[in-house]
Structures are given as C-alpha cells and as structure tokens.
C-alpha cells in the first residue's frame, strides 16, 4: 500500500508525475471523494436530529458526528498520501462493465415492479448472461427455463407465494 517496497526509481518517477498533476488530481482521489461524500451526507442527516427529543437523537447524532470526524481523518490521511505522491489505486479496471451491470440489475428490479416478475425474469436472465459474455443459446435457454420453472414450482405452486404482477397492468 505505502509503496515502500517499490524500487526507488519508480517511486521517483511517480513523484514527478504526481507533481505535475498534483493540484488537479488531489481532489478526485477515490478516498478523498468518499470522505467528502460521507461528510456531506452525514451533515445533511444531522439536520433532522434537531427535531427529535434529545434522548432519541443521541445515538444517531453520535454516529453522524463520529462519521464526520473519521472521514476528516481519512481525508487528511489520503491527502498526506497525495502529498507524498502516492497514486490512488484504481477502483475498477472496467468502469463501463460495472456501470452496465448496475444498470441492468436496477432495470431488472424496475421491470419486475412494473411489468411483472416472470416476464422480466425470463428476459433478464438470458440478457444479463449474454451481455456479459455467455453466448451459448442452448445454455441460455436451459438455464432460463430451469430458473423460472424451479421458482414457479417451489414458490408459486408449492408455497402460493405471490410475486409482483406488474404495476402497469394493475390499473
């Protein structure tokens, strides 16, 4: 983490690079951004505690203040590292895939809510698998059928558990 084990030449090169981009990069380091984000959110959450009784507000307020103090500590620590020219670790090697995956999952949840569980699942399972590299059509078909069939047999048929039918069709 601390780059102590790096050969000297590399760490010098890092420092040189860091110098040139320092001011621009300092604030967009992931940990710095996280710390700032936590401080902002925690401060926002502190506002409603004012309307609570003191004893009700005690624990949440203590935790929020704790979060703010700890985030400031994290911020200082990370900025020290920035000053020392330490490069932040990249969050992910493929941000597009990550965002895509999140988008698909959220889309799936929304679809379940609005157009119903079984339809959405029948589309989502092969779609997600296909989008992320599993392209065997037979495999996709079998997997989807097994998942849907098993869920229907166990939950719907066996336990008479209702899944969302889709808000769009309700009214």
């Amino acid at each position: 983490m601390r780059g102590i084990s790096l050969p000297r030449t590399i760490s010098i090169r890092h420092e040189a690079e860091a110098m040139s981009n320092n001011h621009r990069n300092r604030l967009i380091r992931p940990e710095t951004l996280t710390a700032l984000g936590i401080v902002a959110v925690a401060t926002a959450f502190l506002v409603p505690t004012a309307s609570l009784k003191p004893i009700s507000a005690l624990l949440p307020a203590a935790m929020l203040v704790g979060l703010i103090i700890l985030s400031v500590a994290l911020l200082i620590d990370d900025q020290r590292k920035a000053t020392a020219g330490e490069e932040p670790k990249p969050m992910t090697s493929a941000p597009k895939r990550v965002l895509g995956a999140f988008g698909l999952i959220l889309g799936y949840a929304l679809a379940v809510d609005f157009i119903g569980f079984y339809v959405s699942t029948a589309i989502a399972v092969p779609l997600v698998a296909y989008a992320f590299g599993y392209r065997n059509p037979l495999g996709l078909a079998i997997a989807t059928a097994i998942v849907l069939g098993a869920i229907f047999m166990i939950f719907d048929f066996g336990m008479s558990q209702d899944f969302p039918a889709g808000r769009l069709w309700e009214n």
Binding site: I55, S56, L67, R97, Y108, F132, A143, P164
Partner: protein
C-alpha cells in the same frame, strides 16, 4: 420431564415426520447455499403454508430448514465469499482464502462437521437444560442486555481490518443504519422520510444481501469470461472419513464455540451472527498461531460454523419458555408454533409434551442428518452449480437476491433498498472498507440503544442503574478485559512480528 422426552420419540421417527425433517434439512441446505435466500425468508414463506399440516410435520420442516440453512450458508461463503446467511459472515474470513488455495472441499467438510457438532450440542442443551437455562435468561434485564450488546460491539475492534479509520467508519455506518425506523421508546420516526416500509427498521437480510451478494455479482460480471483455471476451480474433495482425523485437533474450538453459541442463543435478540463473530474472535485469541487466521485457517471455519449452529436450538429456549426469540429465525419459528396453537410458556411443556419434545428431537436428528445429507453429495453438487459460467451464475444470483429480499415482507421497496445497499457495498468493497463491522453495527446498535433507554427508564433517568447488579458488573468487567487485554498483550509481547493478521 425426561420420560416425556422418551415418550415423544416414537412420533418423531414416524415416517411422515421424519421425511419432513429430511426434506427440511435438504431444503435448508439449498436455501442457505443460494446467495440471496436466507433461513428467515424460507421459514417466513413456510409458516402460512404449514397451517394445514400436522404439527410435527410442520415443525420438522422448520427445524430441518433452520439447521440446514445454518450450514448451507457456509457453501457460498467458502466458494464465492458471499455468506448465504447473516451468520455465515465469519465463515468467509478463512473459508474463501482456503477455497482460493484449492482447499475448498476440506473447508466445507470442516464446516459441515462443525455445524453438526454445534447443532447436536445445542439440541442437547434444549432437550435437557431448557428450564434451568431459561432462568439464566431471566437474569438479563435491560441493563444486562445492554452490556451484552456493548460486549458484542467491542468485538468490532477485531474486525476493523488493516485501516482502523475505515473500520470505524463501517461500524458507525452500521449503527446509524440500525437507528432508522421508529424510536424504540416513543415510536417517533427517525429517518423514515414518511416511508411506512422503513418504520420497522431495516431488516438484516436486506442489508446483508445488498452488501455481500451484490458486489461479488458485479465482480462475476465485471471479470471477462475466461479466468478461473486457477486453484479455486479445484475443490480438493476427499471422503469425509479421511478428513475427519485432521479435524480432531479442533476439539477445543468445538467445545468453546458450542458454549458461546448456546449462551448467545439463550440471550434474547443477538443471534447467530454475533455468536459466530464472538467465537471466531475467541478462537483466534487463544490460538497459538493467530497469524494464519484470515488466510485460510480451517479452525476459523470450525469456530464460526460450530457457533452459528449451536445457537439454533438454544435460541428456542427463551422462545419456548418465555416467548422471546433469541434470533430472527427463531422469531419467525415462534410464529410457526403459534399457528399450531403452541403458546410459549412453562405450560407448553406440560400441555403439549409430545409435540414440544418431538420438536426438540427433530433438532437433534436434524443436526445429525446434516453430516449425511450435507456431507459429500449436496456439497459437491452445489460446488458444481456455483461453477457455472460466471455471467450465467451472476444473472441467476441476481434473480435469487430479488426473490430472497422480496419474500421476507412483500414490498418492492425492500428490493430497491437492497440495491442501494449494494451500491454502497460495492464502493466499500473497492475502497477496502471492511464489511463485518456494518453487519455487527446494524444488529447490535439499536439493540444496545433500546436496552439502554429501557434501563434508564427503569432507573428513572439515573445512569447508575447500569451498574446496579452483579450480572451487569461482571459484563462490564468482561467488556473492559476484551478491550484492554489485547492492548496490554501487544505492549508486552510485541516482539513477535506484527500482531494478529487483521485481514477480515
């Protein structure tokens, strides 16, 4: 009482009742092994369905599911680093590193044997010691329970990971999430933003699925398809009779963890995750080689799996005798008992001995069955299932997560909440914020607060009520010892390397 116990036995081994138990254990293993599905969810789906069943069939199913799921949760915890149930979080610490080293098969065998031992110990505690142990529960009023919660929260110290600041941020986040909902005393809203769904607080399963299952799923999808010809592909399974001798050296851990699990079980409200964390910490603390912990030490799996199964039956002791469930699952099971007209209380044992004692036998048999059913067959087939092509596995887990969260209460709101936690969990995972403190903070934060405030009301605002009796004082001393002990130890014995490895 013991003659009642024997009298109940023939009924338990009757075909339908025993079959229900076998099905329950198998179903439990499946449910536990599916990331996203939990024992709480399975039993809450089952309870209304059991209304038309014979009591022992219904209870057998539930006892089986409970036992099976507590072990089943270890399967994805070991193979994917996704704890299948909240109580399996501590199993990931050493289970996943073992799987990466190609010892996943051994890890799962340790898990199944330990689970079974924990379950058997717990069942015996329930069968033989329920009345005296329920007296122990009575000793724990609000101020004592508050100290238990504080004691549990202190074990967060050992879960902080490499960077204490980040660990504490995680813990504060967990505790903060626990206060969402109605105030424990006045019932006023805290951070519910007018959402009725938030009024009862955030269910542990929602947080767990979001934090622990979503990030690995994203990882499954993120990494391009090829990968995985490494060690983690090999499970390294050997027949259980050959691996068993290698496990016998865990006997101390088994005993200690079973005791911890039973003890946590009889205290209201804390539950299996706390038992697993505490026994993991205790086992590591007393280990001669604390440095191997967190890097694939099978004893760590033994500790957490013994404890989380040891609290299954013992959590039913306060549930059956006093009506206060020891764990979230026991709470749902209590509902299953009420459906069959089994009212908790001392009279329960007198009025329905065949059913109650039969239920206890079912816990014992369930725990024993675990080794046979969970041993090689189920474990191997699951291990195969979890090695489906990654994108396919990822998309199936997404569906399971949705079902698992949706089926607990019903509203889609919970699903969106889970996705929100998933996003937070992903960022935390990438930025190396440890997740276990969040789980422990959520479980124990509001629990500590509620009991503190009840104690203060009983003391009419006087804080000295917290130290007023012996049980409280002992708990305070234990808490202090847990915090101060390691500091002293580190100061005097610091010459040997850099202390315990904190790669939680």
């Amino acid at each position: 009482m013991y003659s009642d116990l024997l009298h109940a036995l023939p009924n338990v081994v009757a075909f339908a009742n025993f079959a229900a138990l076998v099905i329950g254990v198998l179903a439990g293993i499946v449910v536990g092994a599916m990331p996203g599905l939990s024992a709480t969810m399975a039993i809450s789906v089952l309870v209304p369905f059991t209304f038309g069943l014979d009591p022992l069939v219904a209870l057998g199913l539930m006892a089986g599911i409970y036992n099976g799921a507590m072990y089943g949760g270890a399967i994805p915890a070991v193979l994917l680093r996704i704890p299948g149930t909240p109580a399996a979080v501590a199993t990931t610490f050493d289970g996943y590193p073992m799987a990466q080293k190609g010892e996943g098969g051994f890890a799962l065998q340790v898990a199944v044997v330990s689970s079974s031992i924990g379950g058997i110990a717990s069942a015996f505690a329930l069968m033989l010691l329920a009345p005296p142990l329920s007296k122990v529960t009575l000793l724990f009023g609000p101020s004592e329970v508050f100290w238990v919660a504080v004691f549990g929260l202190c074990s967060i110290i050992f879960l902080l990971g490499g960077n204490p600041v980040k660990g504490l941020i995680s813990a504060c986040f967990g505790v903060f999430v626990s206060v969402v909902g109605s105030d424990p005393i006045f019932g006023t809203d805290r951070y519910t933003f007018g959402q009725l769904e938030l009024l009862d607080g955030i269910h542990i399963v929602i947080l767990l699925v979001g934090l622990y299952a979503l990030p690995p799923v994203i990882d499954l999808l993120e990494t391009p398809l090829k990968t995985d010809t490494s060690n983690s592909d090999k499970l390294g399974t050997e027949p259980i009779w050959r691996t068993l001798p290698r496990m016998l050296r865990f006997w101390k851990t088994w005993l200690r963890s079973a005791a911890i699990g039973i003890w946590i079980g009889i205290l209201p409200g804390a539950g299996g995750s706390m038992a697993a964390f505490m026994s993991y910490n205790e086992a590591r603390r007393t280990s001669k080689t604390p440095n191997t912990w967190g890097n694939g030490e099978p004893e760590g799996i033994a500790a957490s799996e013994t404890a989380n199964n040891a609290d299954t039956a013992s959590a039913l002791i306060p549930a059956l005798t006093l009506g206060i469930p020891g764990t979230a699952v026991a709470a749902v099971m209590l509902g299953g008992l009420l459906v069959h007209g089994l009212q908790p209380g001392p009279m329960l044992f007198r009025d329905n001995p065949d059913i109650v004692f039969g239920f206890m036998w079912q816990f014992l048999f369930g725990a024993i069955l675990l080794v046979f059913l969970g041993g090689s067959l189920a474990t191997n087939s699951f291990a195969k299932l979890l090695k489906l092509p990654r994108p396919l596995l990822g998309s199936v887990i997404i569906v399971l997560m949705l079902i698992g969260v949706y089926s607990i209460h019903g509203p889609m709101f919970d699903v969106y909440l889970m996705l929100g936690f998933g996003a937070v969990g992903y960022l935390m995972d990438k930025l190396k914020f440890p997740l276990p403190p969040v789980v422990l903070g959520l479980i124990l934060g509001s629990f500590a607060e509620e009991n503190l405030r009840l104690a203060l009301r009983i003391g009419r605002g006087d804080w000295s009520v917290l130290f007023a009796n012996t049980t409280s004082q002992i708990l305070v001393l234990m808490t202090v010892a847990v915090i101060v002990g390691p500091i002293i130890k580190r100061r005097y014995f610091n010459k040997s390397a850099n202390g315990p490895d904190e790669k939680a």
